[in-house]
């Protein structure tokens, strides 16, 4: 009798370790500027606009089949850093044979996590994507130099963040997808940079209306590159 209950509990425990078969859906992000893959400036170049830093949080990855949500990544926080090639690709662990036609994700960090204290991994404030004087993640960071820019050393710095009304900068991206194993997503910075007059707007360093306005332009930078 005792042995039977022990066996029963062991089986129950074994159940806990059962995992449905999964497969890897590989995601690759390809930042580009001026019709070419983004090359971060090391200084000294002569182009009118040089990009020195591009970092951004992507979070809350979901897959949809039609209007039906079929997959949610748990603990879904990814820091993309153009200077760290490894950070530009990762995979979602999805059930095998899953049908889906759309991928959704957020640019930035949700408000619950924003107010949830210290986290590790990509959310660790060591990565320089957390404001220190006022709580909050920097959702998107773009820095560089432009000849048009009147600031010291011609620098422009856009640190977009803010998680509280009316300066909430979190944005959603929805992309139609066909690929089952790999999805390549282009991040084209041209449109964003050409829409800004760097002679007057070159600094955003706190949650404000300008940050919200620029954040709203971000989803349009993302598009599907190619698939297989």
């Amino acid at each position: 009798m005792i042995q039977a209950t022990i066996l029963y509990h062991l089986l129950l425990a074994a159940n806990l370790f059962y995992v449905a078969p999964t497969t890897e859906l590989r995601l690759e992000f390809l930042p580009s500027y001026a019709q070419a893959p983004l090359n971060l400036s090391e200084g000294g170049e002569t182009e009118t606009i040089q990009i020195e830093k591009l970092k951004c949080y992507l979070s809350n990855f979901e897959l949809y089949e039609g209007t039906q949500r079929v997959f949610v990544e748990t603990n879904s926080y990814h820091l993309l850093d153009a200077s760290v090639p490894n950070s530009l690709s990762f995979h979602l662990e999805i059930p095998s044979n899953l049908n889906f036609s759309e991928m959704r994700f957020k640019i930035g960090i949700d408000s619950t996590t924003h107010a949830g204290g210290a986290f590790g991994g990509d959310l660790d404030p060591m990565h320089g994507m957390y404001w220190t004087w006022q709580s909050g993640y920097i959702n998107f960071k773009l820095e560089g130099r432009a000849t048009a820019c009147p600031a010291r050393k011609n620098k422009f710095q856009f640190h977009l963040g803010g998680y509280q009304y009316p300066f909430n900068t979190l944005q959603e991206v929805r992309l139609p997808v066909k690929g089952k194993k790999m999805i390549a997503v282009a991040i084209e910075l041209d449109e964003l940079l050409s829409s800004i007059d760097l002679a007057t707007d070159y600094l955003i360093m706190s949650p404000n209306a300008a940050a919200v306005k620029m954040a709203q332009q971000l989803p349009a930078l993302f598009s599907i590159e190619d698939e297989n």
Partner: protein
Amino acid sequence: MKIKLSLLWICLFVIAGFYVGDQYDLLYPNYFPAPAYDFTKNSLTKEKVALGRALFYDPKLSKDNTISCASCHSPYNGFAHTDHDLSHGINDQIGTRNAPALFNLAWQKSFMWDGAINHLDMQALAPISHPKEMNESIASIAQKLQAEVKYPPFFLRAFGDRVITGERILKALSQFQLTLVSAGAKYDQVKKGTASFSSQEANGYRLFQANCNSCHVEPLFSSYAFASNGLAIDTTLNDFGKGAITKKARDQLLFKIPSLRNLSYTYPYMHDGRFRKLRSVLKHYTEGIVPHTNLAPRLQKGITLSVREQTDLIAFLLTLNDKEFVFNADHQFPKSFFFPKEGLED
């Protein structure tokens, strides 16, 4: 029998896997409300509290290794910067606000005089990164500590491996600060029935409840909400408090209501340390309130207290001094960590 034994092993393995140290029980009186801090995400252990204590006293957390948290938050002053109206940081630079006392932080929902910080874990980033305070970065601190002989084994004991991350430094600092509970004042003994107020203190208590308790709510002596108590703007600082953070008109000139525990140790008072004496504070509330749109409604008619009543009120405020807390050796500089060879007890 065999099955039972192997089950025992499995259990032991599981427990060992989850072992992250000796649980630390946070003690506080039953008349305190439930803490606001979510301990499920950072449960207290003796090892992490000890690590946080070492970090709190370690000047390695500043750029030139000269300033520790305790430089501005001294244990003997209820962890305030007594005798400094505005705090001093690296290279003797002067900040713009008075360093607040640190206790009962587990009951606070937002931090700093203006509420700029939304979680205790993230607070330390502010002084660490501030150019006039410690002028460091959390990433560089993690590197510095990783290269030390003392710290990696300490992180191993606290977190299960030697890796030093921003998250771990911040959580350990929170743990130590969460243990700073002040609940041993005469007021608390009266609450527990082990002491009683003198008639002067009892009268002061009555006056306190009638005039101050709406903001400085018992038993923590603050609601930790934001309010304006009618201080005139110091035009050399032009500090608009919460309004500068939220950019909302209705938040202009609001500051966090501070606790009134341990006042004898934490002078000078207010966000800019403008008053050195409790007498001056009461003079402000009775004669000095400057009206403006965001002045708390409670104070719009001012507070009337005779000189005699003010004396009684101060007598009551002094019963909120918690010697037990201020002189608690468990919160002080951990000598045995910094100077192990001296063989001193900490």
